[in-house]
């Protein structure tokens, strides 16, 4: 009964909030409406839809022993309290993705992105994370790739492996580009980010030698040092001599990030990766909490219109119409295939009771989605003119400040050179024009939220704190991703040439690390020398790859649900699968076949080739043109490849469904047999409440 009352109350509040957003279309809207609507929708989804899926579709059984209990080894398999698992899982899935995607999608106005974040997460992303987590728990914590192989067949499994490796490479490149764009000609940001490396190494020694395993002590010490590094960066920025040491263009910074990634991949994990991760996780949780509190206190009014004219595909931040590109641009925060890898990694080995998958899987993703909503608010509370001035590449609006403001103002978003100079001075930067990639505009948004909430001071320190915060956990993803990519490369080559599979053989480590770093380093470097900002090309490619991975995960889930004879519930994962496959294919089709050089990869390559042959390009572009032409062609073929992999796996799933429905032979279920739990005081909630 209490359940129903709660549901009705939540539904009424959500309806009011959504109604408020819908009816105030021609006047500025307060961010509180969006926050209220979001929280109520998540709670409704969690309380009813997730509980229904657990009970009816998956038949979660609180009396069944989980792998954490059966295989308990005191290390990776450990029965853990569900709120602790929730914390672990949220820390694992929350990365820079939900901060960057919504910031870029804000060019369409706040409404399209916000709606997709809410609907996509409650019906798609949260469901995917929870179902994959549950299926992995039932299979002793097997990975997505293994489940694809066991349940669909060897081809599906191979496609999942290749897809994972490709997305890892694109992901690291695009995140590296975000950091490089934030550091370009910014001595304060560059010196602060550089200082995080020795700080992490020091904490690494602290945790291994001085106070082994005392994670809290090390983390608190490290975070204090990081905050000190933000202050010290400011001092360096004001010193004319030291300033010049950290003032660099994009290309050398990109090379530095590539060299850093290579070293991070071959160094022992305790030295750099593990301590950096402790620091970034602590900062991440702290900033998310602080941002939520500050937004509630400040309750800003959004200045961006609900919908801008750029839904027609002429947007300057990235090209393409609102359909399908809002669904590609915002992956993390709505639905992210990458989460399926984490949900079938460490987390299933910690779950004490099957029923806890709802909190860890669905709950963590709902919180991640809320982070995306906050990023959307931070981007849309800026003056739209300022937002576009920061996020538009020099190749689109012109390199000179007066040109850029004239173009942007002509779109109906007035902004002046003085306004941008004043803002840059406030943030402690020389310029904020054309700082594409999302991180700087998010940092400006966060700095204005924090400084206006906490007494209108220290805006420049808040700005660089936000940049440092983003850089620290982007670099953690670079480290961790390169390492995982290295293992995958070793695994792949090891199938042909045995010695490569030996992870303790140093030459194999060096070769595999160099191949992985070379892969993402290539895309990063091209992104940096591209006059249109690179993000324009790389982010859609990343979105398509990520949604392809989500399609693989949802195919595995749908295949298993059908194999279990629950075809009437197949829509739970099959519905999001169909939608994602549809939008991803439409987006990929446009990226491949569009005649518009701003949108189509091959069209852009041809356009550039024609101009290059005629010699009509500016001198600086003549030098890099052949590289850019090659890269656009490569990106086009990659898009084709991703689409083929996507439909191949869907086809494999349909084959399994067909065999099941016509009674043909199939590989059996890989589920571990039932064993009753011996744990007292089962922590699971009553399922059939």
């Amino acid at each position: 009964m209490g359940n129903r009352i709660l549901g009705v109350v939540l539904a009424v509040i959500a309806a009011f909030a959504v109604g408020g957003i819908a009816l105030q279309r021609d006047e500025p809207i307060n961010a509180l409406w969006i926050i209220t609507a979001a929280v109520c929708i998540y709670l409704l989804g969690y309380r009813f839809y997730a509980a229904w899926i657990m009970a009816k579709v998956l038949s979660a059984d609180p009396t069944r022993a989980t792998p954490a209990e059966r295989l308990n080894n005191g290390r990776d398999f450990v029965p853990t309290h569900r709120w602790v698992v929730f914390g672990h899982h949220f820390a694992a899935i929350a990365g820079p993705g939900p901060l960057v995607g919504p910031t870029l999608a804000a060019q369409f106005g706040y409404l399209p992105g916000t709606l997709w974040i809410l609907v996509g997460s409650v019906l798609g992303g949260c469901v995917q994370d929870m179902v994959i987590l549950f299926l992995s728990i039932r299979r002793n914590g097997r990975s997505l790739g293994q489940m694809a192989r066991d349940e669909l067949g060897p081809y599906g499994g191979f496609a999942a492996l290749i897809g994972t490796l490709m997305i890892m490479i694109i992901l690291i490149a695009v995140l590296g580009l975000v950091v490089v764009n934030a550091m370009r000609h910014s001595p304060w940001a560059t010196s602060t980010v550089a200082m995080t490396i020795p700080i992490a190494i020091f904490i690494g020694f602290f945790l291994r030698r001085i106070r082994p395993g005392r994670v809290l002590e090390g983390t608190i010490l490290g975070v204090a040092l990081l905050i000190g590094s933000v202050w010290l960066g400011g001092v360096i920025d004001h010193h004319p001599q030291m300033r010049s040491w950290f003032d660099h263009a994009g290309a050398p910074l990109a090379l530095a990030v590539i060299a850093y990634g290579w070293f991070a991949a071959i160094l022992p994990v305790w030295l750099l990766l593990a301590p950096r991760d402790y620091l970034s996780t602590f900062l991440k949780l702290g900033v998310v909490a602080l941002l939520a509190i500050a937004l509630l206190i400040m309750h800003p009014t959004l200045k961006m219109p609900a919908i801008t004219q750029f839904v027609d595909g002429t947007g300057p931040v990235f090209s393409g119409k609102v359909f399908p590109f809002v669904f590609i641009t915002i992956a993390c925060g709505a639905i992210s295939g990458f989460h399926a890898l984490v949900s079938s990694g460490t987390t299933p080995k910690l779950i004490t009771n099957e029923a806890d998958a709802r909190l860890a899987g669905y709950g963590s993703m709902a919180l991640e989605s809320f982070v995306a909503i906050m990023a959307m608010i931070a981007a849309t509370l800026l003056d739209p003119g300022v937002y576009f001035a920061i996020n538009t590449g020099a190749g689109v609006v012109g390199a000179a400040a007066h040109e850029a403001v004239a173009t942007i103002s002509s779109w109906g978003f007035p902004v002046s050179v003085e306004q941008m100079q004043e803002l840059a001075r406030e943030m402690g930067e020389s310029t904020l024009f054309a700082r594409t990639g999302g991180a700087p505009s998010l940092a400006v948004g966060m700095a204005s939220i924090f400084s206006s909430t906490f007494g209108n001071t220290l805006t420049s320190v808040w700005y660089h704190f936000a940049i440092m915060f983003e850089a620290v956990f982007i670099l953690t993803t670079v480290d961790a991703g390169t390492r995982v990519g290295r293992f995958m490369v070793q695994d792949l080559i090891g199938q042909v040439w045995k010695p490569m599979a030996d992870t303790s053989w140093y030459p194999a480590t060096l070769i595999a690390s160099s191949l992985t770093v070379g892969g993402w380093g290539y895309f990063l470097y091209i992104g940096v020398i591209d006059p249109n900002g690179g993000i324009n090309i790389l982010w859609p490619l990343f979105g398509i790859a990520n949604q392809m991975l989500a399609c693989i995960a949802l195919s595995v889930a749908t295949g298993i649900i059908i194999k279990k004879g629950r075809i009437r519930y197949a829509f739970v994962t099959g519905g999001p699968l169909m939608w994602l496959a549809f939008v991803t294919t439409v987006a990929a089709f446009q990226k491949v076949f569009s005649d518009d050089p701003k949108l189509g990869f091959f069209a852009a390559a041809n356009d550039l080739a024609v101009k290059f042959a005629a010699g009509t390009l500016p001198e600086a572009q003549m030098k890099v043109a052949p590289t850019l032409i090659f890269n656009q062609n490569l990106d086009g073929w990659l898009t084709v490849f991703f689409t083929l992999v996507l439909w191949f796996v869907i086809g494999d799933m349909l084959r399994v469904a067909y065999c099941r429905l016509t009674g043909r032979a199939l590989p059996g279920s890989s589920e571990a047999p039932y064993q009753p739990t011996k744990l007292n005081g089962v922590t699971g909630e009553a399922l059939h409440a």
Binding site: V269, L341, V342
Partner: protein, 59 residues
């Protein structure tokens, strides 16, 4: 009140992994009596290598 603070503190230690070694010792004492447990440092290094050999960070 005091108990609540203690519970929260234990929860924080568990989430961060601060008490991972204590929990390992307890597990070891319950299940593997007779063999010497790993030292604090050995355990830390081993768990770091285990943690970072798979995908546990995301975009």
């Amino acid at each position: 009140m005091k108990r609540a603070v203690k519970t929260v503190w234990e929860c924080v230690r568990t989430v961060t992994g601060d008490n991972a070694y204590d929990r390992y010792l307890q597990h070891h004492a319950e299940n593997h009596r007779g063999t010497p447990p790993l030292s604090r440092r050995e355990f830390y290094e081993e768990s770091m290598n285990l943690k970072w050999s798979g995908i546990n960070r995301c975009c």
